[in-house]
Symmetry: C2
């Protein structure tokens, strides 16, 4: 039995606290990760997490032993009940130098973090967010995937330490909003147009973002995926943040400004909740 | 005694092979590194490595215990004799999430890699390089420092596997040459103008680059640090690659094209060799 709040690690399936110092995940961030909400012993949006993992590994050329990963995640989720599972998959150990070793054996690290059941609920409590000064890193080859190069998010997150601020928006080099440090962003415009930034130059293609995009039209929204300049976001009828762990949250405060909370969040959350029941 | 070719690791000064799985260097690439040539028991350009480490840590907000790091590197260099010391400094362990823990204790990993003495010599054998398709990541806040987010270099380096190609040039989003995967780039233009790309949006400010810039004027060069579009590089009288480990090398082949090898490389290498004798 693990105490609430503490985290255990398994490395390649073996209970462990350590990773070899020559792992390329440490040396270069040469790997990917997934952070998954576990509800009632099951990974929420598990199929989307797996598909993104497949896509991320393919993009980086890291072989994925899908059967082993899926089995391990399922077993740990069942044992955990409610909480968070984080999976890291790196290219494995290698000698110094950027060249990937031909015989690299990917290494996987998994941690299960117990939480209150409410954690993974779909919260309808509006949040406050800020705009970060740290820009997001631009690289079309890395955009969208959930790789381990996350220093821009770390620096952006270090800009505040007020617990009342839930997250911070990150802009690209042209002043477009790309995402929050740990969430994707949606703007609700006039006539129920739902806009979310493209993640083809920067940002992560979140699994909850994908879930929202998948059911938005059936909820009566027109969807636009593309550039979202900050001034356009500020004029929106509503702003929403999506993440695998925290669901879809309304933004009530952006920086020093109040933001209207539309009914659209409720509409989408109800549809999400129904889809979770079905897909689980 | 360590066998040639094998690497030992020390974690926080203790001989070890493992790093805790919750290290933020692994989770997010939240740390920095230095790769240092060791010649005759001393780190070459040690003062420049230390200053870059200080600067990189300051930029990321990672406290640096300089006394401990310098002492450890000196001791390991003396024991190694000839070879490479790689030092990784991360923000240390932390719970899940981008927010840096207030009580984070930085962790340092050091490895000493024995090599032939000739390895760290200033080679005057011209090399072949290519132009990589993988663009370099753009982020002014991260540019210049030697942090652990190096997936763009890893992917660029994975584009070739021909041992005859020594390195690959990486371009930014505007087609400017920024650096090679593991070296900085210099172009020699007419009238002994030495150009190297600025590293204020992308790239690493190499210690050998700094050494070359420091003595270029005394060697009769006019120096320009700024944009270097690929076509301008291709028209250059000479192309040079600098790195802490391999010194300053002439480029004789760029992609499918022969590149003229100027006498400028020899001039700069002689000045570098003299400065190493003095500064050691």
């Amino acid at each position: 039995v693990t105490a609430a709040g503490s985290a255990r690690w398994w490395v390649d399936g073996v209970a462990s606290v350590g990773v070899p110092a020559d792992d390329r995940g440490l040396a270069y961030g040469d790997g990917v990760f997934e952070t998954m909400a576990v509800v009632g012993g099951h990974v929420r949006l598990g199929a989307f997490h797996l598909e993104r993992l497949q896509h991320s590994c393919a993009r980086l050329g890291i072989p994925l032993d899908e059967t082993v990963v899926v089995r391990e995640v399922r077993e740990r989720a069942a044992a955990l009940g409610h909480g968070v599972i984080k999976l890291i998959l790196t290219r494995g150990s290698g000698p110094r130098g950027y060249a990937s070793p031909r015989d690299a054996r990917p290494r996987r690290m998994l941690t299960a973090i117990p939480r209150e059941p409410a954690f993974a609920a779909l919260s309808d409590v509006p949040i406050a967010v800020r705009v970060c000064a740290t820009p997001i890193s631009i690289n079309p080859v890395l955009a969208g995937i959930k790789h381990l190069n996350r220093l821009d998010q770390v620096l952006a997150r270090s800009e505040w330490d007020d617990r009342a601020v839930a997250d911070g928006l990150m802009l690209d080099d042209q002043g477009n909003v790309v995402c929050a440090t740990a969430a994707n962003v949606f703007a609700v415009l006039e006539d129920d147009v739902l806009v979310t930034p493209a993640v083809d130059r920067a940002g992560v293609a979140g699994v909850m973002r994908r879930a929202v995009l998948g059911l938005a039209e059936s909820c009566g929204f027109a969807v636009r995926v593309g550039a979202l300049p900050l001034p356009e976001l500020c004029r929106a009828r509503g702003i929403l943040l999506s993440s695998s762990l925290t669901g879809l949250r309304d933004v009530a405060v952006l920086g020093d400004e109040q933001v209207p909370v539309s009914a659209c969040g409720d509409r989408l959350r109800m549809a999400l909740a129904r889809s979770f029941e079905v897909t689980r």
